[in-house]
């Protein structure tokens, strides 16, 4: 049998790319360009992160020792604000931002399927975020918001402005997430360049596709809960009254933060990004690529198991858990870690800072899993242990992946690579910060210190653990500041731009210049496998065919 190896022909013009002389896109406010929208998403979510982090610092100061009075009676309000802002306004939209920038490049389309709709989603997110913060400024919204597994009953005569505003703003953010998810899913499913079948899709795009599909299924459930919550609060109903047992389960599975799949979707895009980071810097295709693809899809599917979770699951987002379905999500993550290790061992890795962020993720997740195993033997329900676990597993680990993704794709997003030394320092700071915060809270939990309470009987040990947590918060903030400073420096640097493919990349985003032109691609290479740029390099390394045409 003769196998004909065909050298990829000259680059074919991108199907949807504009002419090289295309006019630059509109200004930042009216833009529908995926690159600008991606950067806007990232900037807005980082701004909201700063708000959430500053509130977190104030809370940490309040918890520093017995009798410290920083926020007075506003502790519950600030606690709810800190959790809500960090969950809804930072990680999820930041991943949408990275995807908005990177996915159209990875699939060789260079544009979004519904760009105006995507721009609408972004501005809706900004409006919703601003209103959410405003709701906490104008007055404390009722209860602990969505942090508590118990419903918030409506006051007689209807809710105040703050509560109504909080619910309405969350609805806006949810609708924005739905619109963005729909556009990203349609973009991946319909605008892939010829040859890029779903089985050849880069892992980050694959993760965003699965994440978008789950978002489209899970977010309407949250929206329905918000509608019930709003009507109950607005008209002073009895639906979520404490005596109403049926409504408690409705609250838990529609509104409660940890009874919905969304909490797992904060990490799903990161797993895909980590796959791309590892394979790019190991300079070889991912070992067991189909297995990794299945693992990501399985993680997405299993995240729906959160709907089966009991009220105790907030204390155990990974093993041990109160629901076998939620416990199963650790299996695909474990499989992916094995795939990454195997790829690194088989490849020719160079230690890029983005790899350090991935390593930080693995270590932090392992730290969380270890403590979850310890907690199985200790009674930690309702203690500060849950706070530590949330910071380590639900926020810390995905944040490391997010920063790793930004570091990895910085040549495209910013036009320049981040300098290795500051990026490593930032990685160490963010990892160390989350680690210390988690450690302090875990130890507080083992010491029976209650969660979400500002004053409790501080033992001398508890005071030390609290100080450890506060120190972690400071280190984290310094790490984030170092990362932001390095990002701004790279973006504003007047030095030469990064080369189109600084890492010997495998996927299509490295086939265009850094940063990409307004039309994203001058030409798109032909795709015949999951790693088209590697194919191109291998084909170029082949000797030219002889005069007889023998190959």
């Amino acid at each position: 049998m003769t196998i004909t190896e065909t050298r990829p022909e000259e680059a074919r013009p991108a199907p949807s790319a504009g002419p090289a002389t295309a006019a630059p896109p509109e200004g930042w406010f009216a833009t529908a360009d995926h690159k600008r929208l991606g950067l806007l998403y990232l900037a807005a979510s980082l701004l909201f992160l700063l708000v959430g982090a500053m509130v977190g610092m104030v809370l940490r100061a309040e918890l520093l020792s017995e009798g410290t009075q920083v926020v007075g009676n506003d502790y519950s309000r600030l606690f709810s604000m800190h959790v809500t802002v960090a969950t809804f306004l930072f990680l999820a939209p930041a991943w949408v931002g990275v995807a908005t920038y990177v996915v159209p490049l990875q699939i060789g389309s260079g544009r979004l399927a519904l760009p105006r709709l995507h721009a609408f989603a972004f501005w809706l997110f900004v409006l919703g975020g601003a209103l959410l913060i405003t709701s906490y400024v104008v007055g404390p919204p009722a209860g602990l918001g969505l942090v508590s597994s118990l419903p918030t009953p409506a006051p007689k005569g209807g809710a105040d402005t703050a509560t109504s505003l909080m619910i309405a703003s969350l609805a806006l953010v949810a609708v924005s997430a739905l619109v963005a998810a729909a556009d990203l899913a349609v973009t991946v499913l319909k605008l892939r360049t010829p040859g890029l079948t779903l089985r050849r899709l880069p892992m980050f795009s694959w993760a965003m596709l699965t994440s978008s599909l789950i978002t489209l299924l899970a977010t309407p459930v949250f929206l329905a809960g918000l509608v019930l919550f709003y009507l109950d609060q607005r008209f002073g109903g009895t639906f979520f009254a404490s005596a109403n047992v049926g409504a408690r389960s409705i609250w838990r599975h529609t509104l409660w933060l940890y009874g919905r799949p969304d909490v797992y979707l904060l990490v799903l895009p990161g797993l895909g990004a980590a796959c791309d980071i590892v394979s790019t810097h190991a300079r070889r295709p991912l070992l067991g690529l189909p297995a990794a693809r299945v693992a990501i899809a399985a993680f997405a599917f299993l995240s729906l198991g959160a709907w089966a979770a009991g009220s105790g699951v907030g204390d155990a987002l990974v093993l041990p858990t109160y629901s076998p379905l939620t416990a199963l999500v650790v299996l695909p993550v474990g499989a992916l870690v094995l795939v990454w290790l195997g790829t690194m061992a088989a490849g020719r890795p160079h230690v890029h800072p983005s790899l350090l962020f991935v390593a930080g993720f693995v270590l932090l997740a392992a730290f969380g899993a270890l403590n979850a195993a310890i907690a199985a033997a200790a009674k930690v329900n309702g203690t500060a242990w849950a706070t530590g676990h949330l910071h380590v597993v639900a926020f810390g680990a995905p944040t490391l992946l997010l920063l790793g993704a930004v570091t990895h794709w910085a040549p495209k997003m910013l036009g320049r690579e981040l300098s290795a030394a500051p990026a490593r320092v930032a990685c160490l700071g963010v990892f160390g910060g989350f680690f210390l915060m988690g450690l302090g809270s875990y130890l507080l939990g083992y010491d029976d210190a209650p969660a979400r309470v500002k004053d409790f009987g501080f033992s001398s040990d508890a005071s030390t653990f609290s100080t450890l947590s506060a120190l972690g918060a400071v280190v984290l903030l310094l790490g984030l500041a170092a990362f932001l400073a390095e990002t701004v420096r790279a973006a504003r640097s007047s030095g030469p731009p990064a080369p189109a493919d600084p890492y010997e990349g495998l996927t299509l985003e490295w086939a265009t210049s850094s940063p990409p032109p307004p039309h994203s691609f001058d030409s798109v290479p032909e795709v015949r496998s999951a790693h088209p740029l590697l194919d191109l390099r291998l084909a170029e390394a082949q000797p030219a065919p002889g005069p007889g045409g023998e190959q």
Binding site: P220, T238, R528, L538
Partner: protein, 193 residues
């Protein structure tokens, strides 16, 4: 055998893109989850104990049946519009869309009339809240559908919609979703109670 790539069949060449249709399919799946959740909440509360629906709740079933029949009738006119548009019959398509629009507005009128007749509100009891939520969202969904049909009607009548594009079919998919939601809400509230 060298490590160079084999020539594999490529996917996606000359594939009709139908971006709008797929986008609408995703929106419809989200909408299904939204109404599914509210109906599940209704059923959960129904089985949670107590008298359901609360005593004193009287429905004019005639109005409920008329509403759902109105929406079911609009399926025929919407399909007629898509069929005519696909065959390049602009006048027929515009007429069918106009009739669909009229049926949609009639439904909204009936819904608001019925809402004015019932003697409970969202604050009365859990039943009142969940029924209010269902009817409010249904009204919003049909209202959006009316907007989409109006837009499509103007584009068809103004010769702005090329024949063979998926815009009319996309509008139809959304309309069928609102019809499905109306039937589901009617079955839950009026038939099942």
């Amino acid at each position: 055998m060298s490590g160079a790539p084999l020539a594999l069949t490529t996917g996606g060449v000359d594939r009709p893109r139908k971006v709008m249709t797929l986008g609408m399919a995703l929106v419809v799946s989200s909408g299904t989850m939204l109404f599914g959740t509210l109906i599940a909440a209704y059923l959960r509360m129904r089985t949670a104990g107590g008298v359901w629906p609360p005593e004193g709740i009287v429905y004019d079933e005639y109005l409920g049946n008329m509403m759902v029949l109105t929406m079911l009738l609009s399926v025929l006119t919407m399909e007629w519009a898509c069929h005519a548009h696909g065959r390049g019959l602009r006048n027929q398509a515009a007429t069918a869309l106009g009739v669909t629009l009229g049926l949609g507005l009639a439904f909204l009128n009936l819904l608001s009339y019925t809402a004015g007749l019932v003697e409970f509100d969202a604050a009365s009891h859990p039943y009142g809240l969940v029924v209010t939520a269902l009817c409010m969202l249904l009204g919003i969904a049909v209202g959006v559908g009316v907007g989409l049909v109006t837009l499509t009607l103007f584009r068809v009548a103004g010769r702005q919609l090329a024949f063979g594009t998926d815009h009319a079919r996309t509008t139809a998919w959304y309309w069928y979703f609102t019809v499905g939601a109306s039937v589901a809400v009617w079955y839950t509230v009026v038939v099942l109670k």
